[in-house]
Amino acid sequence: MIRPPLGPFRLASGGRIDRQEPLTFTFDGVPYVGFRGDTLASALLANGVRAVARSFKYHRPRGIFSAGEEEPCALVEIGEGHARVPNCRATVVPLEEGLVAASQSGWPSVNFDLGRMVDFTHPLWPAGFYNKTFKWPNWKTWEGLVRRAAGLGRPLEGPDPDRYEQVNAHCDLLICGGGPAGLMAAQVAASAGLRVILAEQSPDCGGVLNSENIELDDQHGSDWATRTVSRLREQPNVLLLEHTVVTGVYDHNVTTLLQTGQGSTWRECLWTVRPRHVLLASGAIEQGLIFPNNDRPGIMLAGALRHYVNRHAVVPGTAVVVATNNDSAYQTVFDLLHLQVPVSAVVDSRESISPALQKRLQMAGAELIQGACISDTRGFGGLRSVRIARHEGTDLGHRACDLLAVSGGWAPRVHLLAHARGTLRFDEPSQSFVPDRLPAAWSVTGAASGMQHLQQTLDDAALAARRISEQLGHPADDLAVPQVTRGMVEPAEVGAQRPTASRKRQWIDLAHDVTLGDAELAVREGFVSVEHFKRYTTTGMSVDQGKTGNLNAFIVLGALTGRATGEVGTTTFRPPYVPVTLGAMAGIRSGEFYAPRRLLPAHLMHQKLQGQFEDYGWQRPDAYPRPGESLHDAVQREVLAVRSTVGVFDNSPIGKLEVRGPDAARFLDRVYINNVSGLPVGRVRYGLMLNENGVIIDDGVFIRLAQDRFLLNTTSGGAGRIAGMLEEWLQCEWRDLRVLVDDLTTQWACFTVAGPRARDVLTALGTDIDLAPAALPHMAAACGLVAALQSRVARVSFSGELSYEISVPARCASALLEAILAAGQPFGIEPYGIESLMVLRAEKGYLHVGTDTDGSTTPDDVGWGEVARRKAGDFIGKRSLERPANRATDRKQFVGLEPIDPGRALRPGSHLLIGADRQPPAVTDGWVTSACHSPTLDRAIGLAMLRGGRSRIGEIVTVCDEEQRFNVKVVAPVFYDPANARLNT
């Protein structure tokens, strides 16, 4: 077979990639080949692609800096069209056949970016630049331009085609991290019988064992990891989740895990796990070094370089320099020299280095420069050389190199611990924040707790797992801990960061382009608290959340303000640990599944009647347009039908609460502003409910079915809320009242037959209820047979017409509606929808709570003040009505509006101004709450809340509808049949 081209920087052998399975992919339209086992980053490096992104602010070319989710630079877009995902870190994207990736910043291209104008004018863009550079004429002038230049990727257009899942799970022990510590602990805990979930963020467990040349019991570490994983997979009490990041820890130790579904039918799965105990085995993150121009492509973390060399068999350079402040980077030197890759110099910022290490380096043949640092770098699209200087200033000249491996020490990955409110302390020898006090039900092991030695990590992980198992009541057996027979160079004593004095920019945060100069400026301007410092400089606020730079920022801030780093402290770690897509948070709850659809019991009938549906919490017909008829015209027609003959409306969603018990009347007297106990059996009354602040929260009629039994109608949307409120008063406050509340809303279907011929329709339906006005007057109710169905009939009206509400068990809904339509046919009955009802009630000036009222409306504001004042006993909200603000005379009051030009439509939300000379901007005098074209009056009408409205009847006020102004006349809020003659027929 023909061997695929390896790529210029790929080694012929070694690594954990499958050279037999080449994968083609494109980056910025150029085709490349990588292998199974590659990440996008390793494949790009193997192909010699150096600049993969432009930086956030200065648009400088950036390369691949790390080998994990901490990547600050290599943000790319994956996929095309609607499936395109912005802001992916190339370092964690597994390579797949046909992968399409693109650099997301840089215009017109990543190699030639006009945005780099910012770089050449960088003194104009210091920290807080938007308050400084862009003051003239004002920030708004520049904002659009700056925002366009600064974005991170483009948002998706159109619906997301991917599927997302969510899972809830419980376990005894959640292990965060599947490196050597996590695997060791999982083994022990699993053998003790704990239910274990182990989450590992990479596609395979093993951690450093997969990227370093470590041997355990004389075998390669990755083999031990593979064997351990397959053993764990066999155990039914272990759930091993690879490609899964623990993203956050919340109250009571609830944790969220984001799983990537490689090759699954779903893209991501968000787990919510309730563990009894959490073991943090998340390792540590290598930090960068601060020196002038430390951001060029070709500058990479030393550990990341080992990862690419050992795991992916990629050496992304030909001449290497290593710069470090600790011992661990020496492992990179040894690994490279072992592969005969020349390392021209090791620049160590520390003055003294262990003699053993010095000797090993000497034997390997690399030059060591102690007490020195990088004083500059060159190379626009990629590194060409570095300049080295001693701390005291002696220049040691340039070194040609195309790869600079840096190590600024290791920061334990303590984010999750901090989410759980564990505390941290600064550890001087390792120059990092390590766990201090642990939260309840938490343990930390391995590098996450600051351990450096692998053997210590394995021993401690096994011990921690035993301890946890015993605590949870599962004593563990002794389990052999593997012996490290070949280790790696550990960081040992870490030297403090020593930025050189230079006028050139030295980056602290590569992702957000924050430099040492920005830090100095922030301190000069007084932003010395770490939280202020972060926000002013924006350090650590990008996609990577400063995983490779924050520690340096805290150290720098300490140095600039003469404080110890421990005194500076850290900013607050908040979830999520890595970016979580909105898709994963939504799960399946989008589109059709966003909310349950509630259908009317006679839904199919309404469909047959060509109802035009809208979601009002229930799927309800707005109206029933005829073919070719607009919704507006249909509404006008339906309203006229009700006014002139008769119509039928499906009112089934109306809230129906049954309240019964010896104290029911006493209780409801306290609930409504109206008198309830005086209502005779079989009679109906309209009532308003307030909250304790005196604000109207619901309205509706109530029927006294028996001395101790009432049926309350609430607004359709309010049924559950009001039922809950009644329960709260009964259970928490008035426990002595013997009352039961039942929400029967869905048990009963309810149809309103309204119009001058309504009584004729009921007679035609056939009923044993006496319909004579004297027997069943307005606001009375009776039970009996209607169309041979057991029914309750109430004479109540929301239209102003003679109106019967017929309630039947929900299962009889379609039968009753069919019967009504048939019986009404000779009278020209028409079904009418909710839009038509809204016009009918507006013509009559009936209040619609929540539309005409808001969170400040009292009974007096809407004309019910007298009823509330006259009521003898106490009721919820009564005392608040006496507060001075509620008794003020200039409150907004419910009025009607008639435009001077009767054809001029009002729009709800338009503001009102009293006085011809008043013009916006001005304090509003009120607003339009409801408006429509009244077909009955053939003119535009509106309802409004107007300052002191009741005393302004007859006055002309100005409507402000966006830029338009026109005049309306204030009238009483009833446009039709003010004497209620039609109701009482």
Partner: protein, 95 residues
């Protein structure tokens, strides 16, 4: 997300419950006889302690019962849950 013990149903997820605020709140017996400031005290003022707090919760998507939860507002530890009736009727004597 808290784990809350309903005295009637047992330990359940917070999403099944709704919090009704401080349990020490009690409606004055004769609102009409008290001053505006006293009424405002009942309406708007809360203890809001840093530490142990007694709250009303309702098992909204369960049995529908209100009960009293003792919660540490700093750690969110839940110390106990009591049926409403186990407290003095007015609930004023919360610790």
């Amino acid at each position: 997300m808290l784990l809350i013990k309903c005295p009637y149903c047992g330990v359940r997820d917070q999403t099944e419950f709704r919090c009704g605020g401080e349990a020490s709140r009690a409606r004055p017996d004769h609102p009409e006889h008290i001053s505006d400031p006293d009424w405002a005290q009942y309406l708007f003022y809360r203890e809001n302690p840093k530490g142990l707090l007694r709250e009303r919760w309702v098992h909204r998507y369960g049995c529908g019962q209100w009960f009293i939860v003792s919660r540490d507002t700093v750690t969110h530890d839940i110390l106990d849950s009591l049926p409403m009736g186990d407290l003095p009727p007015k609930g004023r004597d919360a610790p």
